[in-house]
């Protein structure tokens, strides 16, 4: 395998958009292509994350239309679907195909327009990530799955639920604080623990501000072989390692406070990069719910199992903490257009490693990592980037 670098990135504002999924993707894609100092015709393939386009706009097979919209209608253009991890799965495949030598330059990213569905339909379609035969008829929802995770965590580690809820609220407060510093974020205002704890309950014990929003948005990256990258940009950001792991339906996972798909994925990424969790300077991870961030920082090895909630309370994941988590504001404040999320995480890490993040810059960050989760902990995909 040969070395691969990201040579350009692009991203729309996240939130509510009047643009179509194709229009949003084209904006992000052309920003990435322009930054790469190439033309669309230099791109040899498009890997596109998109989850619910069929339901949101009645649009199937969007990838060829996205390619056509930027003037390259005849390249192979393929949709990747791994629920909320879709874009990272697309990015990882883009990396592997360039690393293998099959392609020299690939455009990868994702797009999503979830706001148009409204909450009941969005809740229905997001829950399609559960086992449709053996789980969905119980009316399980995505927040419901993580609500169950929070209760499991509380019981397993003997942390009283009220205490755990405060620690979870601190995660939300931290990510909102970071979001204020991100001009592309959906929510740019600080909140308090009291505000989180007074929100409506979505799925016990998760309250409104424990949950990320529905969002519209797109993000894209150009991957190039390292030899080409040096001619295109002064700041290539290299891929040091990647991993992807799976797990079956939630009931097969039993104690799902230990996210096995993530253990498999992150170990594989660390191994390839030849480093460990302590070497990561900055991380964007999948905080779809506050408890999800706590589970993630444990399975990725930043903190021991059962210690993640206390570490969050102690500020160890803040911008100036031991391991800054979600400087972009995370899914919670930046927004979560599901098919685009992994690409937006990679966008943030590339910008961090180029030191282009202004007030939310993690000073001197040299190695960064993304972590994206799809379905009921069924897909996790990790990418480690380095300067």
């Amino acid at each position: 395998m040969r070395e691969v670098a990201v040579v350009g990135v692009g991203m729309t504002n996240f939130g509510i958009s009047e643009k179509t999924q194709i229009e949003m993707f084209s904006e992000a894609a052309m920003e990435a292509i322009t930054e790469s100092n190439i033309e669309p015709r230099d791109i040899q393939a498009l890997f596109l994350g998109n989850v619910l386009g069929d339901f949101e706009e009645g649009q199937m097979n969007m990838a060829p239309m996205c390619a056509a919209d930027i003037g390259i209608p005849n390249i192979p253009a393929t949709r990747f679907e791994g629920a909320c991890a879709s874009a990272t799965v697309a990015l990882r495949d883009a990396y592997m195909w360039v690393a293998s030598g099959f392609y020299d330059m690939v455009l990868a990213g994702g797009t999503e327009k979830a706001m148009v569905m409204g909450t009941p339909m969005a809740t229905r379609t997001f829950a399609m990530g559960s086992d449709s035969r053996y789980e969905s008829f119980a009316g399980i929802t995505f927040p419901g799955a993580f609500g169950m995770a929070a209760h499991l965590y509380s019981k397993k580690y003997g942390i009283p639920l009220e205490k755990l809820k405060e620690q979870m609220a601190i995660v939300s407060v931290k990510n909102h604080k970071n979001g204020v510093l991100n001009p592309k974020a959906q929510f740019r205002k600080e909140i308090t623990v009291e505000k989180v704890l007074s929100g409506i309950v979505i799925a016990d014990p998760l309250q409104l501000l424990d949950c990320c929003p529905f969002s519209d948005g797109a993000a894209a990256l150009v991957f190039a072989s390292a030899d080409k990258a040096k001619d295109l940009t002064k700041k290539p950001i290299y891929i040091a390692g990647t991993g992807q792991g799976s797990a079956g339906p939630l009931y097969t996972q039993k104690d799902f406070t230990v996210v096995k798909s993530r253990e498999v994925s992150s170990k594989r990424a660390y191994k390839q990069a030849g480093i460990g969790p302590k070497d990561i300077d900055v991380c964007e991870l999948h905080d779809c719910f506050t408890i999800a961030e706590i589970l993630a920082i444990e399975a990725m090895g930043f903190f021991e199992y059962g210690k993640g909630s206390q570490a969050s309370e102690d500020g160890e994941t803040a911008l100036d903490g031991k391991i800054p988590i979600n400087p972009s504001g995370g899914l919670k404040a930046k927004g979560h257009p599901i098919g685009a999320t992994g690409a937006a995480q990679a966008y943030e890490i590339v910008k961090q490693l180029r030191e282009e993040c202004g007030e939310r810059q993690v000073k001197g960050a040299k190695i960064g990592m993304t972590d994206t989760l799809g379905g009921d902990l069924a897909t996790v995909c990790n990418i480690i980037f380095r300067r």
């Binding site: 909450t119 009941p120 339909m121 809740t123 229905r124 829950a127 399609m128 086992d131 449709s132 035969r133 053996y134 789980e135 969905s136 008829f137 119980a138 009316g139 399980i140 929802t141 927040p143 419901g144 799955a145 609500g147 169950m148 995770a149 209760h151 499991l152 509380s154 019981k155 639920l161 409506i200 309950v201 979505i202 799925a203 016990d204 014990p205 998760l206 939630l250 009931y251 097969t252 996972q253 039993k254 104690d255």
Partner: protein, 134 residues
């Protein structure tokens, strides 16, 4: 080898009052709900057996913002069956507002309820229904 215990067969049995699963002839483990192979050892050599439905609640949530087609609030829980596997279903005959951490570890029996499908669900379905043991 043909799929031994399909969803259709599992569902029809449940509606008829029988909770079916698979028991492995190689390692003795139970696989519930059914899969093509034993989830412990991947053997296809399994028999269809009746499951006791007895178990303990491991975790739960109360769904207050339901998907289209459902009306909240209702309780979803995961039960560890005496046979070993975990299964998901609804905890019924209990006021959702009274569901708290003390539910975890409580013993249950398992029945079922028929759930009307929507245009995405390929027909009606069944959910396991857990009741607290007296």
């Amino acid at each position: 080898m043909e799929y031994k215990l399909t969803y259709e067969k599992y569902k029809e049995a449940l509606i008829g009052g029988k909770f079916l699963g698979l028991k492995c002839n190689k390692c003795g483990a139970y696989t519930v709900p059914p899969k093509k192979v034993c989830l412990e050892c991947t053997s296809e050599d399994m028999d269809i057996v009746e499951i006791s439905g007895k178990g303990e609640i491991r975790t739960f949530t109360v769904i207050r913002v339901p998907p289209e087609g459902f009306e909240g609030p209702y309780i979803v829980g995961m039960v560890e069956l005496d046979e070993g596997p975990w299964v998901m279903g609804n905890i019924v005959d209990l006021d959702p507002d009274k569901a708290g951490m003390d539910l975890i570890g409580k013993k249950v029996t398992t029945g079922h309820k028929v759930v009307k499908g929507d245009k995405f669900s390929a027909g009606d379905g069944v959910a396991l229904a857990f009741r607290l043991q007296d």
